[in-house]
Symmetry: C2
Subunit: 228 residues, 2 copies
């Protein structure tokens, strides 16, 4: 399991939860299929064996928030460990997905027998929590153009396949979905995506996105220097 935010220098040693979890039930989900709904009972920890899972939430005002897209070898449903009777989010298969599922009570039993699993899970979810604070930082301190560039870099690192020429190919992300991640309207995302495309940082169609994340990172760094 890798993290997109930690470099080898920052991170000495992380334990993989999979080393301590016995195999469990496997379920397949077609693209778009809801895994659990907002407000539904939520008492399981999920591991993505293949595919991509979308976690989202509907705000008090009806607006949609994209919490994140999780990929193969990542966990979700960790909030079940809080013993809440209702899910605070909705999970659905963003692409056809195969999931391994452990009931919360089962996870707690395994932890009592193999406490290393708990350290591994603390690290896994701690990493995610750190990612949330990075996102809060971006939302609080950056203009939308930078927030969008940062989101694209993150998704390409996280979900894309790097090609020999340094470009990254990934499944298309609609402007609507990106707007639910960076906190703006679809129209504003479209405007900035056109500008990033004109600058040569990405190409996109309905079938895929081709990104040049290294060039986009350089541009973002230069932009930060100019703004300071």
């Amino acid at each position: 399991m890798t993290s997109s935010s930690a470099t080898p220098a920052q991170q000495k040693r992380l334990i993989d939860p999979l080393a301590f979890l016995p195999c469990s039930t496997v379920t397949e989900y077609k693209k778009g299929k809801v895994i659990y709904e907002y407000g539904q009972a939520c008492d399981a920890l999920y591991l993505i064996l293949s595919g991509t899972v979308k976690l989202s939430r509907i705000g008090d005002h009806g607006g949609q928030l994209l919490i994140d897209l999780y990929r193969t070898e990542e966990f979700f449903g960790d909030l079940a460990l809080l013993n809440r009777s209702q899910a605070a989010e909705e999970a659905s298969a963003f692409s056809p997905s195969t999931l391994m599922i452990w009931r919360t009570a089962e996870v707690e039993e395994i932890i009592l027998a193999r406490p290393q699993l708990a350290i591994a899970l603390l690290q896994t979810f701690g990493q995610r929590s750190l990612g949330f604070t990075h996102r809060i930082e971006s939302l609080c301190l950056e203009p939308i153009e930078s927030r969008l560039a940062r989101a694209l870099i993150r998704f390409s690192d996280h979900l894309g396949a790097r090609q020999p020429d340094g470009s990254v190919v990934m499944e298309p992300l609609t402007h609507e979905l990106l707007s639910q991640y960076v906190g703006t309207s679809r129209e504003v995302v479209t405007c900035h995506m056109m500008s990033l495309r004109r600058r040569g940082f990405l190409k996109y169609s309905r079938k895929m996105i081709v990104m040049y994340p290294d060039a986009l990172k350089c541009w973002l760094e230069e932009k930060l220097k100019r703004e300071n």
Copy 2:
């Protein structure tokens, strides 16, 4: 340990990490004293025995972000469990504080002997992670006035002392600090604080804030209804 975001109906049973942690070193910090700095080695878990601790970060562009203010009986420094060589945040005493400190290696040893501690920590930090996603939701979907009202309600629930008349008295929070939490300028916070004060939701001086959180919650709910 209580949470401001979970109601009894949502939350069946949470374990208190303190039930499994042996006593450790106690250190006192004067108001404003730095506990650990951004980029400094970070290898301990801290429990606040008394006082309030401020966690903050400096963004890439030099802007300050207030991650949160933590109170008595709350933990911080949990990112040390990620075995990162450098702290991703700065911790300082917001008010005179007494802290109990466990080295990370020690926490991991205790977990191996008493795995219930790990379940308790998973729940404690899971709760915090859920709070971060609520904040991302507010930053993505709400106008600044609502974000500020929500932040004030949160801080008054979390740090204030409720009085018999339903008002909450709390230490003053500068407009600068609030702006670092809701992601805007000090000037914009001042403008909205004046408006909230005119509406009778709060009174503030350099010595304290007196808030009427129930009235502010009602106003926020009405505002949401009007905007939908």
